[in-house]
């Protein structure tokens, strides 16, 4: 056996063990989801009906879109806590402008430019000034929330102008009896999948998440890539915001104070995208979103109180983490890097 083949074999075993790690966590969650699905189908009336399943997916499509954005950043070894603020404030910008007389497409475009601008600044802070992502995004989140509440709008709920039927269609309409918001979620998932798996840029994100130093030595433009990551997650936030605004004909900035950003993180981590970067993909987001969606839907059907719902949600998540920890004990690598 030559040295070369030895090295190759070693590399291969490393790759397979890494793959197994990913599949394991994803599999646990997928099994949990399937198990719950089976239980609910037998125990809850009307749970297993086309109508209810469509409602189930639609109610988590915004969460799913935000999680896709978060996934891209986490794979690149970052984290974006500004997602929800971006979503709420950018759409508020658009709605406020529309109410001041701008045509809605123009107003949306300005909201979009706002997102890209903020994301670029945020990415720059992280990539070039080297502020840890968790602090930079948290700070930016607070700043744009402040801007939203103090400068952009007086109220935290802003209604879209009347007679915007084409826009409301995004949130309330259906194509082939499937709600448009599910279509949008589906296409974004496909887009992110193709981007991550089939494009050079996507592969770069994995490379820099796996090991930034090696990525840099290999010649990947690491810093610009980091900025692109945050722009992508910002765009996801904007899209999720459009669907939200279209479905309730308004945008509520109070959502920034809610636990949505933690739900997003949970979907991502639960789905099996390690916070240490370089692992996971769209499939993990879909699995994580499915589990959360199932829980929310079933608990609403069972008419469980809000507090108990939170308790159950947290307990299931904790259980998943415990099982994961038992099956995937901490190894040297995670010990060195830590989980964030």
């Amino acid at each position: 056996m030559t040295d070369n083949t030895k090295i190759n074999m070693k590399l291969e075993t490393e790759v397979t063990s890494k793959q197994r790690f990913v599949i394991k966590q994803e599999l646990i969650v997928a099994l949990a989801a399937v198990g719950l699905f089976a239980v609910f189908s037998f125990t809850l009336n009307n749970f297993f009906s086309a109508g209810n399943l469509v409602t189930l997916v639609r109610n988590v499509s915004v969460l799913g879109m935000l999680s896709l954005g978060m996934a891209v950043v986490v794979i690149g070894r970052g984290v974006d806590l500004s997602l929800v603020a971006m979503m709420a404030v950018s759409l508020t910008v658009s709605i406020v402008l529309a109410n001041k007389g701008y045509s809605f497409p123009v107003a949306l475009l300005i909201g979009l430019i706002f997102v890209v601008l903020v994301a670029t600044i945020m990415g720059f802070l992280i990539a070039y000034i080297e502020i840890p992502a968790i602090f930079a995004t948290l700070a930016v989140s607070a700043i744009i929330y402040g801007l939203g509440r103090g400068v952009i709008a007086d109220l935290d709920v802003n209604n879209i102008p009347n007679d915007l039927d084409w826009f409301v269609f995004l949130g309330r309409g259906s194509i082939l009896s499937i709600p448009v918001s599910i279509w949008i979620f589906g296409f974004t998932a496909l887009f992110v999948y193709l981007f991550l798996q089939k494009t050079g840029l996507g592969r770069f994100i994995y490379a820099l998440g796996d090991n930034p130093e090696t990525a840099r030595i290999t010649g990947i433009p690491v810093r610009p890539m980091i900025i692109i990551q945050y722009i992508l997650s910002g765009l996801m936030a904007f899209l999720a915001g459009m669907v939200t605004a279209a479905s309730v004909a308004s945008m509520n900035m109070r959502i920034i104070n809610s636990t949505v950003i933690y739900d997003v993180l949970l979907v991502v981590i639960l789905g099996g995208i390690g916070l240490s970067g370089g692992r996971g993909g769209v499939r993990n987001v879909l699995v994580g979103t499915a589990l959360i969606g199932l829980l929310l839907n079933a608990m609403t059907i069972m008419d469980i109180s809000y507090t108990t719902q939170n308790l159950i949600k947290s307990a299931v998540l904790l259980l998943a983490l415990i099982i994961d920890a038992l099956l995937n004990p901490r190894d040297e690598q995670t010990a060195q890097q830590g989980d964030i």
């Binding site: 409602t55 709920v157 479905s247 309730v248 008419d303 809000y306």
Partner: protein, 337 residues
């Protein structure tokens, strides 16, 4: 004869009028000066849940006008959707010894001890719309229990089995411990007790959030395709409830309540709501001004008297909707400038 009589009558009445003018000239309104003096230079601190929605914005606009007129200071400390920030704001205010503290509680428990402390320090406390379990000098706001009773009765009327309907209704609540939820639920369950005309198939909290309200409503309609009515606890949140109903294309009666800002009337117009019980935040602003005025004039100490000014309800439906059914926050703020 008749002409003579007429002349005499005219003469008499003109003499009487002249004398009354003389009297008015000399008579001074005795209570005006002491009242104005009692208000002038005082300080009122207002701690709303958040200065970012129609109710506190409306109250503040009406309060500010009166404060400017009478020369007392209105100081607004925004709790910004956090009981912690609110408690800190009240605690800070207590150390500054204002004459009155006005609070809008998030729930019936969080501020209770802090409000008691304020009163112990001799500061009079007014609670607005959302009360605490601790009674202070004054409460100004919606009669939640009454609104709950009204909504339940409407459901009996519109959805009752005896009326040939399914009798199934759902409730979309605010946070479980908020006064609006607690007392309204009380009113609903007491009205419906002992009748099987109406069945509550779901009672979930949407936490004052439209998106949550929409998600819950979609699931409930899916689960109970023959749902007949929904009682929502706040019009701003129930924009989401109504969106889900419109989307389902079903005929579901949605009754909700709110401060009667123009968005409520728009909701009625666009068929998002079937009925809105407005407690008229603009009118509540005037009631708060009255409470401030009474407490500042009264010689009694903080905590001596406890009174409530419940807001009259205004029922808005499509059939009675007029241009002035609702007030307009932007215009209200405009008139203050």
């Amino acid at each position: 004869m008749t002409i003579m009589r007429k002349i005499t009558m005219t003469a008499i009445s003109s003499v009487m009028m002249a004398s009354s003018v003389f009297a008015a000239d000399g008579l001074v309104d005795q209570i005006r000066k002491p009242t104005f003096d009692a208000l002038n230079g005082k300080t009122v601190v207002f701690v709303p849940m958040s200065m970012s929605f129609d109710l506190p914005e409306g109250w503040a606009a009406v309060m500010q006008r009166e404060a400017d007129k009478h020369g007392y200071k209105l100081d607004i400390r925004d709790a910004n959707w956090s009981t912690d920030t609110g408690t800190r704001a009240i605690t800070q205010a207590i150390t500054e010894k204002p004459d009155i503290i006005i609070v809008q509680n998030f729930d019936v428990a969080s501020y209770a001890r802090t409000l008691k402390r304020a009163q112990d320090q001799g500061i009079k406390v007014i609670q607005v719309n959302m009360g605490s379990s601790y009674q202070t000098d004054a409460f100004v706001g919606a009669d939640w229990y009454g609104i709950g009773k009204h909504a339940a009765n409407r459901m009996l009327e519109v959805c009752g089995k005896s009326k040939g309907k399914s009798g199934k209704i759902a409730i979309v609540e605010g946070p479980a411990t908020a006064a609006a939820s607690v007392y309204q639920l009380n009113g609903i369950s007491e009205t419906l007790r002992g009748t099987d005309d109406i069945m509550i198939v779901s009672s979930q909290t949407a936490d004052w959030d439209q998106s949550k309200a929409r998600g819950i409503t979609q699931t409930v309609i899916q689960q109970h395709p023959d749902l007949c009515g929904i009682i929502g606890f706040w019009d701003v949140m129930d924009a989401g409830t109504g969106a889900a109903i419109l989307e389902s294309k079903k005929d579901i009666y949605l009754i909700t309540s709110g401060g009667g800002n123009k968005t409520a009337c728009q909701g009625i117009e666009n068929n998002v709501f079937s009925e809105v019980v407005s407690y008229d935040a603009k009118g509540q602003g005037r009631d708060i001004n009255s409470a401030i005025s009474i407490l500042l004039q009264s010689k009694s100490l903080a905590g001596d008297q406890k009174f409530a000014l419940y807001s009259p309800n205004k029922i808005i439906t499509k059939s009675n909707l007029t241009a002035d059914s609702c007030w307009d926050l932007d215009k209200l703020k405009e008139t203050n400038k």
